[in-house]
Point group: C2
Chain length 433, copies 2
């Protein structure tokens, strides 16, 4: 395919779709100079009528599948989201020999193995830079720039809503529900913010990053997920007082035991670059054997930033009509399933906050339980009781221990008569192993 | 060219050359899986004998030009540095129809227009990811990932030696000469560190970044350069006390007046991501109309990190035997020379440190001179005189003023009887315009 112009079919006309159409219209000459091809939006698929939208001279279809069937469309851009219609749409586009560009992380994470194999068999490209971290070009960096590295770890702040909430809680001492309401009012969070809060959205993105980083199939069921809804403002304060920031991280790590994938609130030393990434920004840290550590920071969402990545994919399609290597870096058939580290075996340092009776003996009981399970203590903060209370908060940082060992120890500690049963437990990652 | 294996000729066997040869040997299977081609180092050009080096089965030539003439070599990797032999070598390789991968920033900045035009005419690729910021994939990000953006600014810490020196001075209060000696002992700085210190090395890299960012020819004579040798430890302290860090930045900016290019010590608000990048790390911040601000942080030098970028270029050559767009993002003939903003017209906020007699009246004289030139003052620090001295340091931050206006005002101030003639002057960049 080296038609001039390259006809683009855009399905989905939300903020990203409109921004994509806008860039293709306004940057038409620059894109021609850079890609060697004119790019024209020839067909728009929009399930509803939007009298205020300007699609230029494009044909408009209410049935998005008509765009996939349009013989004049060279590249189908899928921006409708979800995993049902979008799934059918992309399969149909591939059947009709069209290249596909998508921003749909859920679809790639869940059905990417199937779709990429179909695309490879059909000799068309499927590109998805916008699916992870919005305007940050992390897909290309992993797939191309770090292709000569054995990547050992990818860790990222890959949900801007969650990072906004934690940042506000942390810097202003605000409560979770309060900040969430504001995030919804600002349009950062969806009406149903569940997937942002509980780690599902971050897990989708992490699945994609891990596949690229380690040459493994997209593994939607692999990540352990823990959300941010249970992070209390006092935990952010204690963390700060000990030199840490709390971020909702997605972490994929290759160890001698296998591959770990997990999304959870995490204490990070404040001197790490990624610890200073606040608000709706995203950041991805990649460790490779040759390059060392590379950190990419930028806008993880937003119409224009995401459209920047969509259009970069279109430029790549135009510059490389015959493709430029497999969608996941390695041909779908050559990806090798790893062995997974069971969640209980995933080791890290730990942050523990307990509420205990202010009695002599209780600290000794707690430290004995930890010692009996070979969990050594890095530091302890014990505060005086609040006025008119006989309870004291006890905050511990431990050295490295597997999750199963840590949770057993914690259950034993919470079974002590002097300790309340509502302890807080978070992983600490120093990223120095 | 889709030969299998792809024969690589490596010229230059310093740390980067050896690391490149090592990756191509050790990651042979992974590179085959990712690029679809075996890659073999078939010929090594090394001007001296190194009995301890292992080049595998490669042919070895003392005359590096023999590698360019070798009909079996598909891609020539130039890692000898400098702008004389390396220049001849690359021209010869292009004449012989070979793709070229180089880490040579000075050569690309000085002779890139010629070499890229030659390569385009010959239908071969010239790639240079390793020439700027070592392992950070900033060339690809500008050339490909942000291809749909109007880039308005690129600013970077692009000399690790300089950043190491400023970081040590800043965090430990050490003197310039002391840190420079250590940097040389650690191998961070060359035996002749002039180009690291005076901004020449950063200017070479900035020229390349600006060309990619703005679609302009490589313009070696354009950057204004100011080195770090005159930054005094007390300036770092005053900057810190006002909430700033001092970094040696390369800045390329497109304004309504034209393009600015400059390398100089710069005060940056400490909350900016780039202000927190310390030691030998590099960082590049890119502002685009669609993406907003993206920051890339990582190792700017070192054998393995630089070889990571060299090998990424080789994977790109293997994946895209027919190329993947012009070397500078836009075909050499289509690059358009910009109008340059004269150095005197480049405006910024300013940091000024004066030494004045501790007399009433002097502050009034200083502020009157500034006011007469429409330079408004953002803040002033005036310290008590040191014991047994009648001199006081006066530190000012101004609002935005062009360089010519600021230097005229400063000369007038230094002509005051009560003010010493050794003022310090540095630009302040808030990156919020």
């Amino acid at each position: 395919m080296s038609r001039n112009p390259l006809n683009i079919g855009v399905c989905g006309v939300g903020t990203v779709g409109l921004a994509t159409i806008g860039i293709l219209r306004d940057q038409c000459e620059a894109l021609l100079a850079r890609s060697g091809q004119s790019m024209v939006v020839s067909h728009v698929g929009a399930r509803r009528e939007h009298p205020d939208h300007d699609y230029g001279d494009a044909r408009v279809s209410r049935d998005v599948l008509d765009v996939a069937r349009d013989p004049d469309v060279d590249v189908l851009v899928e921006l409708i989201g979800g995993t049902t219609v979008a799934h059918d749409l992309i399969k149909l586009a591939i059947q009709h020999g069209k290249h596909v560009v998508t921003a749909n992380k859920a679809l790639i994470a869940e059905h990417g193995n199937e779709l990429i194999a179909l695309a490879e068999a059909a000799g068309v490209q499927i590109r998805y830079e916008a699916a992870v971290a919005g305007g940050i070009p992390v897909i290309k960096v992993l797939r191309e720039s770090l292709a000569a590295n054995v990547v050992t770890e990818v860790a990222g702040i890959i949900n801007g809503t969650g990072n906004f909430i934690l940042t506000e809680m942390s810097t202003k001492g605000r409560a979770f529900d309060d900040v969430l309401s504001e995030a919804q009012a600002l349009g950062y969070a969806e009406a149903d913010p569940t997937f942002d809060i509980d780690g599902t959205d971050a897990a989708h993105k992490l699945v994609i990053l891990a596949s690229l980083a380690f040459g493994i199939p997209l593994s939607i069921d692999a990540p352990m997920k823990q959300g941010i809804q249970e992070v209390a403002p006092e935990d952010l304060e204690y963390a700060a007082s000990m030199g840490y920031r709390v971020k909702h991280l997605g972490i994929a790590r290759r160890t001698e035991q296998g591959v770990e994938m997990r999304v959870h609130p995490t204490l990070i030393p404040e001197h790490k670059q990624i610890a200073t990434v606040d608000g709706v920004l995203n950041a991805v840290m990649i460790s490779g054997d040759a390059v060392g550590e590379v950190v990419l920071v930028g806008p993880g969402a937003g119409g224009a930033a995401t459209a920047s990545s969509v259009c970069a994919d279109l430029v790549d399609v135009a510059r490389n009509p015959a493709g430029s290597g497999p969608a996941l870096g390695i041909a779908a058939a050559a990806l090798q399933a790893p062995s997974w580290v069971p969640v209980g075996d995933i080791a890290s340092e730990w942050y523990v906050r307990l509420t205990a009776s202010d009695q002599s003996g209780v600290m000794s009981d707690i430290t004995q339980i930890l010692a009996s399970r070979d969990i050594s203590i890095e530091s302890i903060i014990q505060k005086p009781p609040a006025p008119e209370s006989d309870k004291v908060p006890v905050v511990l940082l431990t050295h490295v221990a597997p999750q199963s060992v840590m949770t057993h120890a914690l259950n034993e500690i919470m079974a002590l008569e002097e300790v309340d049963a509502d302890a807080a437990l978070m992983r600490v990652e120093a990223f120095d192993r």
